[in-house]
């Protein structure tokens, strides 16, 4: 991702250029979505509408692709990224309950971002720390053997 001005104008003209390149080519959908997500960090609704129009793919199908692949997101990333491991080891040690607790605390589902823009949540497969499960990461920090009750304290430490 490039640095510098991220104002709407520049992003939009980059999107225009991208769409011009693939206009009328339905088969380029996944590629275009990738590049659009690189531009914006996520896939805003307006962008998906424009992609659909330019590539001549129905919006319902565009959304079908976006919602099928977990690497696409329609939500802007939060300030803090929470990843919950649902690999086998973590799962048997209670990752499910932990995830439920986080969803409840933050009022969101995996793939979403809290309304205040603080946290995004995602579910991942094995983080390579199976002995320490259930494991979550918040940004770069690894939290091991997380009991659901500890979640509010953990989140509070990041919230500001």
């Amino acid at each position: 991702m490039s640095f510098g001005c991220k104002c709407g104008g520049e992003l939009n003209s980059k999107l225009d250029a991208l769409l011009d390149r693939y206009r009328g080519q339905p088969s380029a959908l996944i590629q275009v979505l990738h590049q659009a997500q690189e531009l914006y960090g996520y896939l805003p609704r307006k962008v998906l509408q424009r992609v659909a129009g330019a590539l001549n793919v129905p919006l319902s199908q565009v959304y079908g692709v976006v919602s099928f692949y977990s690497f696409f997101t329609i939500h802007p990333k939060g300030k803090h990224q929470i990843s919950v491991c649902k690999g086998t080891a973590c799962y048997v040690r209670g990752a499910g309950q932990l995830l439920d607790r986080i969803k409840e605390e933050l009022g969101l589902k995996p793939g979403e971002t809290t309304e205040d823009g603080q946290f995004s949540l995602e579910v991942v497969r094995c983080l390579g720390a199976c002995g320490l499960g259930p494991v979550i990461t918040v940004d770069e920090d690894v939290h091991a053997r997380v009991q659901p009750e500890r979640m509010s304290d953990i989140l509070a430490a990041y919230r500001q």
């Binding site: 609704r45 998906l48 509408q49 659909a52 129009g53 129905p58 919006l59 319902s60 199908q61 565009v62 959304y63 079908g64 919602s67 099928f68 329609i74």
Partner: protein, 574 residues
Amino acid sequence: MSLVTLTIDGRQVQVPPGTTILAAARQAGVKIPTLCYLEELNVIGACRLCLVQVEGARALVAACVTQVGEGMVVHTNSPAVRQARRLNLELLMSNHPQECLTCVRNTSCELQQLAAELGVGEIRLQGEMSPYEVDDSSPSIIRDPRKCVLCRRCVAVCEKVQGVSAIAVQERGFDTVVAPAFLAPLGEVNCVNCGQCSLVCPTAAIHERDETDKVWAALADPEKHVVVQTAPAVRVSIGEMFGLEPGSIVTGKLVAALRRLGFDKVFDTDFTADLTIMEEGSELIHRLQNGGRLPLITSCSPGWIKFIEHFYPNLLPNLSTCKSPQQMFGTLAKTYYAQKEGIDPVRIFVVSIMPCTAKKYEAGRPEMTSSGYRDVDVVLTTRELGRMLKQAGIDFESLPEEDYDAPLGISTGAGVIFGATGGVMEAALRTAYELVTGATLLSLDFEEVRGLEGVKEASVNLAGTELKVAVAHGLGNARKVLDAVVNKEREYHFIEIMCCPGGCIGGGGQPVPVDNEIRAKRIAAIYQVDRQMPLRKSHENPAVQALYREFLGEPLSHKSHELLHTHYTPRERF
């Protein structure tokens, strides 16, 4: 072409290469159960209820997607086959609500039927239910994802037949659901309410909005004067709800049945179909003679109207400004008829019996109130009326034949053919020809515009000018015609477009199942009704003539414009 020989259940069968096992078995009279398969439209091998055993193959194969091979030996009824099919069905049923007794598809549901045929004795598997709720945002169509078996038949029809793609498969794994983009409510997207999805859905996961309660209530209300209109297509299809052959003509029984239900007057949309011809025919002649915008495109099909508003808003000026026959009827019932009979229009309750789910949407459009009231109060589909008659204990087959009430029940053959693709065009040509040339038509049958061909073209000599016309049915075909016009590949003066394949006889509110054979039978019945009518040209309808004399003045008069014409709204493509 040399044929392939194979053996199915011990019998030799010869079929062309490339045939599927399913088709070969059907040819041999062997029934293989299917669920996701929809001929030519949805051949995806997803449900695996059509499994068969092929000798030498490692696993059972899906008959709908597997081609025959020379010398193939197929078993469709071995213990392994029966067990595998049943297990797959049980898996589908494991997260399905057990609500058959109260379900709109009770007795017309393919899943239910399969459970009976495959002998699922008990529900051994209980899975988690779908996390999605019923979507009742649309005025026409209810989505109930809990009952969805993810066969994708609706998705295929919406995309390939209608070219709309309002719905698609969203999310994945357990969360997979058929829905609009962003899982938005169907009532808020570009769905045109055609209901073709509800015709092919094997279950009640997509069905018409049921509004029979409102009609029962109106019928029971002594204050209300309840009148009913029946669309042309209903008289050749509702018999199917009672086990009659497709294409059975039951006009007289339909009228009798509606009287038995308690309607105060039984009228006919064919009357306002004739009226539409007077207005639209005059509009055509006016545009031809005054350099108006051409081609003129018909406007009686509300799914088509919503489609053009979303996808071709630039062509809206080409649409005829005529309201549909249903809406003209509603307006006149609460103005002309109310005056004539001295009934306060507040008391008049107009019910339509339509082959169409989009008519529900049309009746609720904000501009459809030119009588000063909501012009049409409730629209019932053919299926809903069938259910009402059953609830009322009416023995349809044994009913006598009765006649429509005057004056809004008087019609000609030109009105009834509105029910089939090409019918509006033909009716308009019959009248336009005689009005323009002053001569009598020798043959009334315009064969070129009839039949199930997706796009039909014809050219008619109107007093020296060649009138070029086109007819399309199914919105995918409509797209072809419109694109040809936009790209200037074709020039027409007049285009008829019907939203549903086959025209209204194939409407989204008609009895299930529907296929081309059934469509053809209903169409043949429509033309038979036309042939048997004493009058077959709209301008000869005495009740329409009286309406102009007593009330409207003449076609395209100020009053006609006020009451019978409308305007359109450009909408977003997505």
